[in-house]
């Protein structure tokens, strides 16, 4: 059970030029397509982040990102993304484990994975509304508690809080984790489990020493997907809490789309800041990835 060791024939003077060019041609479609439809707009975003309100070019928008208000909103966005990535990652993994390796009937797995497909994109206004119908002031669970004699909202609980927002975000984070980690769980060879048991390992030891190390690169990769997913989310938070939680995405919306403030350049600069945060996250994740790959010997 070897890890994906560094290939013996990657990039080097050992390979003929033609072969190396062919390698790059293999990724050309991707770069071409993303260049046309993704990087192009990002460059426009970067250019417009340099426009100030007088119409000229300057760095003043970036200076304005340094204000406590904007920093706080980045912090808030990062916190909620981390929280939902971790909680979503862990419980999503457990759910995926339950339906793939847990011995449950296979119908459960296909029902849950197709459901997850839908739920992963059930976000924005309908999701916020669904949770308001459930746990809002007039929600059915709130009513249930009232019937049992407990006034939820009086006791300090509110859906419109950080953890309330986390609870709602998890609705699309769990399914995402589940769907994306299923192929990895399927790839865990049964032989390894049997071999481990033959060598006297307990279930815990199997997971700790065999399965999780093998899965870690995929788990990390999927968690950064969850992080990015939450980081860029806007509609759900806005629908649930309005502008009360000034996430970075909401700040951007106010400057670009709103009826009150109108400094699109600042909005674009905040968005560029988000791109940078994402880039830093990828770097951290790559470092963690490479470490985890080393476990595999």
């Amino acid at each position: 059970m070897k890890a994906e060791a560094q290939p013996s024939f990657v990039g080097g003077a050992t390979r003929p030029l033609r072969a190396r060019l062919a390698d790059w041609l293999g990724v050309l479609p991707f770069f071409l397509f993303s260049g046309l439809f993704l990087i192009g707009p990002t460059l426009i975003l970067a250019y417009r982040s340099l426009e100030n309100q007088a119409g000229g070019l300057s760095l003043e928008n970036y200076a304005n990102i340094g204000t406590p208000e904007v920093i706080q909103s980045y912090g808030l966005s990062i916190r909620i993304s981390l929280a939902t990535a971790l909680v979503g990652g862990i419980f999503g993994f457990l759910l995926a484990w339950a339906v793939s390796l847990g011995g449950l009937p296979s119908g459960f797995r296909s029902a849950l994975s197709t459901f997850s497909g839908v739920a992963s994109n059930f976000a924005g206004v309908p999701l916020a509304a669904a949770f308001i119908y459930t746990l809002g002031r007039i929600g059915i669970i709130t009513a249930l508690f009232e019937w049992l004699g407990v006034d939820l909202y009086d006791s300090g609980f509110t859906l419109y809080s950080f953890w309330g927002l986390v609870l709602v975000y998890l609705y699309f984070q769990f399914p995402l984790m589940l769907l994306v980690i299923l192929p990895s769980l399927d790839g865990l060879k049964r032989d390894w489990r049997e071999a481990a048991e033959n060598l006297g390992a307990t279930s815990g030891q199997y997971w700790r020493k065999v399965a999780l190390p093998v899965l870690m690169p995929s788990i990390l990769g999927t968690m950064i997907l969850l992080f990015g997913n939450a980081f860029g989310a806007h509609a759900t938070a806005y629908a649930l809490t309005g502008g009360v939680f000034p996430l970075a995405t909401i700040l951007i919306g106010r400057q670009i789309s709103g009826d009150v403030l109108h400094n699109p350049g600042l909005g674009y600069a905040v968005a560029m800041g988000m791109v940078i945060v994402m880039a830093i996250s990828i770097i951290i994740y790559s470092v963690l990835q490479r470490r985890s790959e080393r476990w595999l010997g």
Binding site: I138, Y160, T241, G242, G243, Q255, G258, D259
Partner: protein, 379 residues
């Protein structure tokens, strides 16, 4: 290896072919029409030119806002033009962004006309995003509601009211001060985010004016009022809308009278909606129309304006939308405002109509202060 290379090239060619096919569409030439003043004789020429264009592209016109659904249908029926409605939920900022992004675009994504908050009129004009046009009834638009050379012009107005869901609220509050009473605990909401919604920011200012303060001090007083409201536990810090009132999530919401009436009609008693217009701090809000300088259908745009400012258009705004159309005073004086429509419009007597400069000054105070003064602790 070469076979694979070939397949790559073929797929690349296929993509390029796809793009080429897509590029082969019609390209209409955009013309920025010169400034004209509409007058009776030119109407037929305008109608013909508009019909030749065939379509009008609008943006940010929800059907339930001021009866725009009826207005659009009326326009379509009268002139046989198609109306291409872009994002009805767009904010004023979005509308300007749409014009900027679509400069020179002959396609259906470019808006021809915009309807924005009054503070956005001058901004759009400075950036050269709009073109001037004076409708036939130009003189009946009050001077302080239009830009003198015709770049932007008020279309309708309303006053802020306290809208309540009668199934949840027994006593309708009559003034802003009433909202502080304990019976409204956990019930009062703004109709949007004060940092993004025109109505919300004007509400904060209005609450300040209701305390007796004036000018910029009123904006600060408004912030204080909402701080009090929040501390008392009466303020629900979410963005209200017609649906949240109807559901009972935000049983008391401050919004334009026309939205409150429309909500009542929409819900048809399930539940009942009532509203009260506060006398202290009576705030009026004006929206303005403009034609995009890059409109792909400039003649259709002008015809639309003529329609909106004709008696027919103004009466639709009043009758179906419960808004005060901008020519209200003139029409009442001329007797062209039917009594039944007049009866259902709440009075705007004594309302405060802020100028653009006043709005901008108040905005500055509220937007800078809101996060800290009414700071809802995050977590």
């Amino acid at each position: 290896m070469t076979r694979h290379l070939k397949r790559q090239l073929i797929s690349l060619l296929a993509v390029l072919a796809l793009l080429a096919v897509a590029c082969g569409g019609d390209t209409a030439v955009t013309t920025v029409a010169p400034v004209t003043t509409g007058a009776g004789g030119e109407m037929q020429g305008l109608i013909d030119a508009a019909k030749a264009e065939g379509t009008l592209s609008t943006i940010a016109l929800p059907h339930d806002w001021c009866g725009y659904g009826a207005v659009i249908e009326g326009f379509k029926a009268k002139y046989g033009l198609a109306v291409n409605e872009l994002n009805p939920d767009a904010g004023s900022g979005d509308e300007l962004e749409a014009i900027r992004a679509n400069k020179g675009n002959p396609g259906p994504q470019a808006p021809d006309v915009i309807d924005v908050g009054v503070a956005f009129g001058p901004t759009a004009q400075e950036e050269g995003l709009i073109q001037a046009y004076k409708v036939a009834t130009w003189d009946e638009i009050p001077d302080d509601a239009k830009e003198a050379t015709g770049y932007w012009y008020g279309d309708y107005y309303g006053v802020l009211a306290l809208e309540v869901n009668k199934a949840e609220v027994a006593n309708t509050p009559q003034e802003y001060a009433d909202l502080l009473k304990p019976e409204y605990k956990g019930q009062v909401a703004l109709s949007g985010d004060p940092l993004a919604s025109n109505a919300a920011i004007l509400t904060v200012w209005a609450a300040g004016l209701a305390t007796g303060a004036t000018g910029e001090a009123a904006a600060q007083a408004g912030l204080e009022f909402f701080k009090q409201l929040n501390d008392a536990g009466n303020f629900v810090p979410i963005d209200g809308n017609s649906a949240s009132v109807g559901k009972g999530e935000t049983p008391v919401m401050i919004d334009w009278t026309y939205n409150a009436i429309a909500n009542d009609v929409n819900l048809a008693g399930n539940p009942d909606i009532e509203f009260a217009v506060p006398e202290a701090g009576k705030m009026a809000g004006l929206y303005v129309q403009a034609i995009s300088a890059y409109a792909p259908h400039p003649n259709a745009a002008k015809l639309w304006m003529e329609y909106l400012y004709s008696d027919e258009g103004q009466l639709l705004w009043a009758g179906k939308g419960f808004c005060h159309p901008i020519r209200f005073e003139a029409m009442v004086a001329a007797g062209t405002m039917p009594a039944d429509i007049l009866a259902q419009l709440p009075s705007s007597e004594g309302a405060f109509f802020p100028t653009v400069d006043e709005i901008n000054a108040a905005k500055k105070v509220v937007t800078e202060g809101w996060p800290t003064v009414v700071g809802v602790p995050v977590e």
